[in-house]
């Protein structure tokens, strides 16, 4: 027991700070509403659309794309419909009625973001992201970054090729993400929780917790529970004497 106490003490000295950090970051993540973190309230459900009765023929799609395709979608985009073709050189968008190539430029990206945003606030900024940061994580670059002027500074990240909203960020997420970084100990990319440092720390911390639980058996005496046990015993004694009488 002395050995376990010594080990608990020294593990506590070396790993204690991380235990405090894990507890605080865990507590904060439990406190921040996960629906808000993932930006659910800022999502405007898309209006169900019906594809044009006679979309562009496949022959004209093939002509407009001008190369082999390994996948093709007919899908709503903005107020109209497009064909989205997956080709070896990337994704190509073609208007499903006119056959014109559709480019996701700054104006188009902003319009798509507004349509996907439930708030009434205006767009604060539109920017093309060429180099990744903690907000864009491992999303394919470049991206359109559309930030709104709401309190949460809601930011939508849109694909420059398909126009899809790939990710949502907001201030609750930004705060949450700091605690996430502390929790998973990936201080640069905030992405991976599978690295040697955290596994080593986790094993050490398991021992800290387990040795603590073992020590509990030696740390409590009857006296610690006297305020519960004394009345119970008194009642028991009274019953005994009553029976004998």
């Amino acid at each position: 027991m002395f050995l376990i106490r010594t080990l608990h003490k020294w593990f506590g000295l070396i790993l204690g700070l991380q235990f405090v950090l894990w507890s605080i970051s865990g507590a904060m993540m439990a406190l921040l509403d996960h629906h808000k973190v993932s930006g659910e309230p800022s999502v405007r459900a898309p209006v169900p659309a019906i594809a044009p009765a006679e979309p562009l023929s496949l022959a004209r799609v093939a002509q407009a794309v001008g190369g082999p395709v390994h996948g093709l979608k007919l899908k709503p985009l903005g107020s109209g419909y497009v064909y989205e073709a997956a080709t070896p050189t990337g994704v190509k968008l073609v208007d499903a009625v006119s056959g014109q190539a559709v480019a996701i430029d700054e104006v188009k990206a902003a319009a798509l973001a507004v349509a996907a945003f439930s708030g009434s606030e205006k767009v604060a900024s539109v920017r093309k992201v060429e180099t990744g940061d903690v907000e864009t994580r491992s999303l394919p670059l470049p991206l359109w970054r559309v930030e709104f002027a709401d309190k949460e500074q809601t930011t939508l990240l849109l694909s420059t090729t398909t126009g899809e909203v790939l990710e949502r960020r907001n201030n609750t997420w930004r705060l949450w993400d700091v605690f996430w970084m502390i929790h998973i100990m990936d201080y640069t990319k905030r992405e991976s929780f599978n690295h040697p440092l955290i596994v080593t720390m986790g094993v050490g911390m398991s021992w800290l917790a387990l040795s603590g639980v073992i020590l509990l058996f030696r740390s409590f005496r009857r006296q610690d529970f006297a305020y519960v046990l004394d009345p119970i015993e008194r009642i028991r004694d009274e019953r005994k004497t009553r029976k004998q009488a």
Binding site: G12, L13, S23, A27, A30, E54, P88, F193, S206, L216
Partner: protein
């Protein structure tokens, strides 16, 4: 009460309440960090998607399948043949892109064939069934769904949609164990999804208090040996 005694007493009582959960937290944490998340997701269980080009000539026009009721259409390869996955007003459907024939809902043989074409592990199909109630490992997915279990290590299971023929989910025992320890980690013992439950909120702040009182206790737990020896000598 003197400060060291107060520190010891608060640490001891907080630990009595939170200690076992701290063991759960750390052990579940080790499991989740030690096994790579891609392995948990079962990425190794399936082959990379078919990227061979699809010839558009001779295919049925996608707008003609459900005229006036189509929401979206996807052309892809299933079992090496071009198919249309249609999201329409009546529901989701699968068509042969060459003949326009309706393929959905797909039968057992078609589901088995698709599962085998995705599966990259060893072993054959152990069991295949169409299930009407989604088990907890694929909750929120549409049913009925084809459940295809393989004989390989850790009960690899693929779920195939009868409406679209697509692979919907892949599971194996490493995933199932992850889900189980995740339940202990976030203390949501019912749905295993709510990270903001009251129990977790209270427990985590108790853990903060327990760890801080532990740090406080450290102040009284170490002695400088040399000075102690000098005193003994004097």
């Amino acid at each position: 009460m003197r400060l060291p005694a107060l520190a010891r007493k608060t640490h001891k009582w907080l630990a009595l309440i939170i200690g076992v959960q701290a063991v759960f937290w750390t052990i579940s944490g080790v499991y989740m960090t030690a096994i790579h998340i891609d392995t948990i997701h079962g990425d190794h269980l399936v082959r990379a998607p078919d990227q061979r080009p699809i010839a558009l000539t001779g295919l049925v026009e996608p707008g003609s399948l459900i005229p006036g009721g189509t929401r979206s259409v996807k052309l892809e390869s299933q079992l090496g043949r071009p198919v249309y996955v249609v999201d329409a007003v009546p529901g989701r459907m699968l068509f042969d892109a060459r003949t326009g024939e309706l393929l959905s809902p797909i039968d057992e043989a078609a589901a088995r064939e698709r599962a085998l074409s995705h599966y990259a592990g060893v072993g054959g199909v152990e069991k295949i069934e169409l299930i009407d109630v989604a088990p907890s490992e694929i909750k929120n997915r549409a049913v009925p769904i084809w459940r295809v279990e393989f004989t390989g290590l850790w009960r690899p299971t693929l779920y195939i949609s009868p409406l679209t023929g697509e692979l919907v989910a892949k599971r194996h025992d490493l995933w199932r164990t992850f889900d189980f320890v995740w339940m202990f980690h976030i203390m949501d013992y019912e749905e295993r999804t709510d990270m903001n439950n009251a129990l977790l909120r209270v427990a985590t702040w108790m853990s903060v208090a327990a760890s801080l009182t532990g740090a406080w206790l450290l102040l009284y737990s170490f002695r400088r040996r040399r000075r102690a020896r000098k005193k003994a000598a004097a």
